[in-house]
């Protein structure tokens, strides 16, 4: 064994050693592709397993057997599953998600619009919530176990304990119905002025901020606190650094990895997990689009949405991992 190993494995090792970060990113990327492929199989298989097919579900009570048969024939639903899967994947890889069975619109075009809306909402929520959460987390650590810390904790715990639709309804009730200062419903459409768009999404953005804030804030606080208890922080304190400086300069960088992770998770949630918020605020995003499609088994749409959601999750996780490694060089050399 020992005399075989150097010749076969060393070249790879050398590349690894020379470009540890690059090779790690490549490795992660390839792994993500495999993962995406596995997800595509799951999505397709899962949809096949659902009871009822498009033709019957879409036509519902107004369907005649003739119309059902016509639709099935037109969509080629009579062909074997594997044929349809390979065909779909082949097109999807080229960025062609086909046309919606129900509305006959191009799925890619529709998703372009919907994903744009979802990303816009998520970006607005992220721009507010991420700095706020990290800032509040640091503030909580600075005042730990004193009044500001307790207030921050209680409020964030309350926000995280309420289901998002309830927060949404409360905001609608007070700002939409009672005071009438916020725009509701949050319907956005093509050709809407940017300012109107911002006004329209004020309430859903506020809801999302409240929902994700606590999670990120508490993780920031916990991560920094755990670093604070380590020996070098004690040294920093003994050196006579101010508490704030110690947190920002010495504790925060070492706590970055877990914070980045929880931020990435929450960002992913903001894009793919906000179906309820979209429904409550009548916001035309991806979640609503996918739910509509699942209801009538509009396969091309569901598949495309599923794949995109998976890609978003995988991508954000990958970025989080890479960033964590950048922030903490020790992680580059796994033992």
């Amino acid at each position: 064994m020992s005399d075989l190993q150097p010749s076969t494995v060393l070249p790879g090792l050398r590349f690894n050693q020379r470009f540890p970060l690059l090779s790690l990113i490549i490795e992660r990327f390839l792994l993500s592709l495999v993962l995406l492929f596995a997800v595509s199989v799951l999505i397709f298989g899962g949809l096949e397993a659902l009871p009822g097919d498009f033709a019957t579900t879409y036509l519902g009570q107004s369907a005649t057997p003739q119309a059902v048969a016509n639709i099935r024939a037109e969509l080629g639903l009579n062909r074997p599953v594997t044929t349809r899967y390979v065909e779909w994947l082949g097109n999807a890889v080229q960025g062609n998600f086909g046309t919606s069975w129900a509305s006959k619109n191009s799925v890619s075009e529709q998703i372009g619009k919907r994903l744009g809306n979802s990303l816009f909402l998520a970006a607005c929520a992220a721009v507010i919530s991420v700095p706020l959460a990290v800032g509040l987390g640091m503030l909580a650590v600075h005042f730990r176990n004193r009044l500001p810390d307790k207030i921050i904790n209680v409020i964030s715990l309350a926000a995280i304990s309420l289901p998002e639709f309830f927060i949404g309804y409360l905001l609608i009730l007070f700002f939409g119905v009672k005071f009438g200062i916020a725009t509701f419903p949050a319907t956005v459409y093509d050709g809407m002025a940017f300012v109107d768009r911002l006004k329209a999404i004020a309430l859903p953005t506020a809801t999302l901020v409240l929902v994700v804030l606590a999670h990120m804030m508490r993780m920031t606080r916990a991560a920094i606190l755990s670093v604070m208890s380590s020996a070098y922080m004690e040294t920093a304190e003994l050196k006579g650094l101010s508490a704030f400086r110690a947190i920002v300069k010495h504790a925060a960088p070492n706590a970055l990895a877990p914070i980045i992770n929880v931020v990435a998770l929450n960002l992913a949630y903001l894009i793919v997990g906000v179906v309820v918020v979209e429904v409550v605020f009548v916001y035309p995003g991806m979640g609503q689009y996918m739910v509509d499609a699942v209801t009538v088994r509009d396969m091309p749409v569901v598949q495309a949405c599923g794949l995109i959601f998976a890609a978003v999750y995988i991508l954000l996780n990958m970025v989080a991992d890479v960033l964590a490694i950048v922030a903490n060089p020790r992680l580059r050399h796994p033992r």
Partner: protein, 529 residues
């Protein structure tokens, strides 16, 4: 009486009384239907519809999967959208349900009701400026009757053998006589499009009071007024915006904060809360939709008429209407027709909850043990509660019902029309003939009670081609009695359509044809500033 009706008429003029309320009260005061109708029309005219304004509707039922092709209209949302931009050949009278002219000016049947000649209106322009011609009409009907079509009206149209133009007239030849042919053409899929929509079914070009400006499926549709509309008694607002709102709470919030003028599908459970909002009016309209408990007449133990009768007598209809519909509905009588249909068979005794009779028939049936009832929340709103209520009322008659809650996903594929005893929902149909043909004819695809009776089928066919109304009414009465006493349907209630608007909205017509003023809400109302 004169003073009273005058008072009513003045309330109509001031917008405080709807057509339905007015008609109900005027008729109760001894007026005839025709007179009351005329008086209402006069009074409502005196209310002077105001033109202008931007009308916003928040509707349930839109989805990203909605298609602009009228052949594929399915959702409530598209139903309403289609009514805004398109016209059918025929409409139904909002109050009597009879056929009234639209793009067809008049019509004439042959003696056996198997050939119909429709005179097509002249001087009507499509939104793109093109004149409406007989060719457009023929092409439209051809598209919806093609056996390869995916049209939702395919079932309605399958009795048409030949569609042809005779000069400027449309001649339809049917496979058999059908006295209801004009009404069938009021189906909301049958929007007349240029060249039948064959060039571009999604173009949304019609002859309706509004032109479609923008459309995003499941999100929003906007319209502007068609200045060249061929009618002056509709299309009062300058522009219409229909927003898809599938969340019930969102609809209520939008209405009570004044962001929209009208919402559909108000939940009976929350309607009392909504009533408290100062600027809101509840619009409840009697409908033809009904909630049913269906038994397969050919499957044991339901193949025994005594057991079926026992289960019918064990249904407490009044409680169902009160608890499940919140009072917004009418009790049913175990046949799928109510007084909103033309030629409704009057005077049939109302079946009431009678545990003793139920127990008697149950004993006579010889059945013992429990009866399995499958239900799901998707069957109709409150279906699971209704099943449990029914279980309770059956208990008093000594009948043990076992309620099984099925998953909503796949209920229509795996349970309804498959399992022998389940809960379900039927929407109304324009005519009695259609209702019976869809669900009670032996050969019907959706004979979900497996009611297979050659004598019933014969009556149905006989009534279909009968042009004499009195004779027809008698035939429908006999059929209703058969379904009521021997059929497999337990029909506890007809649900009202419950919608709501702000008080700004005037001129709402309580149309018995279908929900949302038969889809015409946007074309019929106006806004008081």
């Amino acid at each position: 009486m004169k003073d009273y009706t005058k008072h009513l008429a003045s309330r109509v003029t001031s917008g405080g009384l709807s057509r339905r309320e007015f008609m109900g009260r005027a008729m109760a005061a001894g007026m005839t239907l025709a007179l009351a109708d005329q008086l209402f029309t006069e009074s409502a005219m005196a209310a002077e519809p105001k033109r202008g304004g931007h009308l916003k509707l928040g509707l349930e039922g839109g989805a990203a999967t909605d298609s602009k092709d009228p052949a594929k209209f399915l959702s409530q949302f598209m139903f309403c959208v289609g009514r805004c931009w398109g016209d059918m050949l025929v409409e139904s009278h909002p109050l009597t349900g009879a056929a009234v002219p639209a793009l067809a000016e008049s019509w004439e049947p042959s003696k056996d009701a198997a050939t119909w000649t429709f005179k097509i209106r002249k001087g009507v322009k499509f939104h793109n400026g093109k004149d409406l011609t007989i060719d457009d009409v023929v092409a439209t009907l051809n598209r919806h009757t093609d056996s390869k079509s995916e049209s939702g009206a395919l079932g309605v149209m399958k009795s048409i053998k030949e569609i042809k133009a005779d000069g400027d007239n449309l001649v339809l030849t049917l496979t058999e006589g059908n006295a209801d042919m004009p009404l069938l053409l009021s189906d909301y899929h049958l929007v007349i499009q240029p060249n039948g929509g064959k060039d571009d079914p999604l173009a949304s070009i019609g002859t309706g009071p509004y032109k479609l400006v923008s459309f995003e499926p499941g999100v929003r549709a906007t319209f502007e007024r068609n200045k060249d509309d061929w009618r002056t008694d509709r299309g009062f607002v300058d522009s219409v915006e229909i927003i898809g709102m599938n969340d019930a709470t969102a609809r209520i919030a939008a209405l009570s904060s004044g962001q929209v003028h009208y919402i559909n599908r108000v939940d009976p459970k929350t309607v009392d809360l909504l009533k408290r909002a100062p600027n809101v009016e509840i619009l409840s309209t009697a409908g033809r939709g009904h909630y049913v408990f269906i038994m397969h007449c050919n499957t044991a133990p339901f193949d025994n008429n005594d057991l079926r009768l026992a289960l019918k007598y064990a249904m407490d209809r009044e409680t169902m209407v009160k608890k499940i519909l919140g009072g917004y509905g009418k009790v049913g009588n175990d046949f799928p027709i109510n007084s909103t249909y033309a030629l409704f068979p009057e005077g049939i005794e109302q079946r009431v909850y009678d545990p003793d009779k139920a127990a008697f028939h149950y004993k006579k049936s010889g059945h013992s043990g429990s009866v399995l009832l499958r239900t799901s929340e998707v069957a109709f709103p409150g279906a699971v509660d209704a099943a449990v209520l029914y279980q309770e009322s059956c208990k008093k008659a000594g009948i043990n019902i076992e309620v099984k809650r099925e998953p909503g996903d796949g209920y229509w594929t795996n349970v309804w029309n498959v399992q022998p005893f389940s809960t379900s929902y039927w929407g109304g149909r324009p005519t009695q003939d259609q209702m019976y043909s869809t669900a009670y004819l032996s050969t019907a695809d959706w004979n979900d009670t497996r009611f297979k009776r050659p004598d019933f089928d014969k009556l149905l066919l006989q009534a279909r081609s009968e042009l004499d109304e009195a004779k027809r009414k008698e035939l429908y009465r006999t059929m209703a009695m058969m379904v009521r006493d021997e059929g497999g349907v337990i029909l506890p209630m007809f649900n009202d359509f419950v919608n709501a608007s702000t008080k700004q909205v005037k001129g709402y017509v309580h149309d018995i044809g279908n929900d949302m003023s038969n889809g015409y809400v946007a074309t019929r109302v106006w806004l008081e500033s």
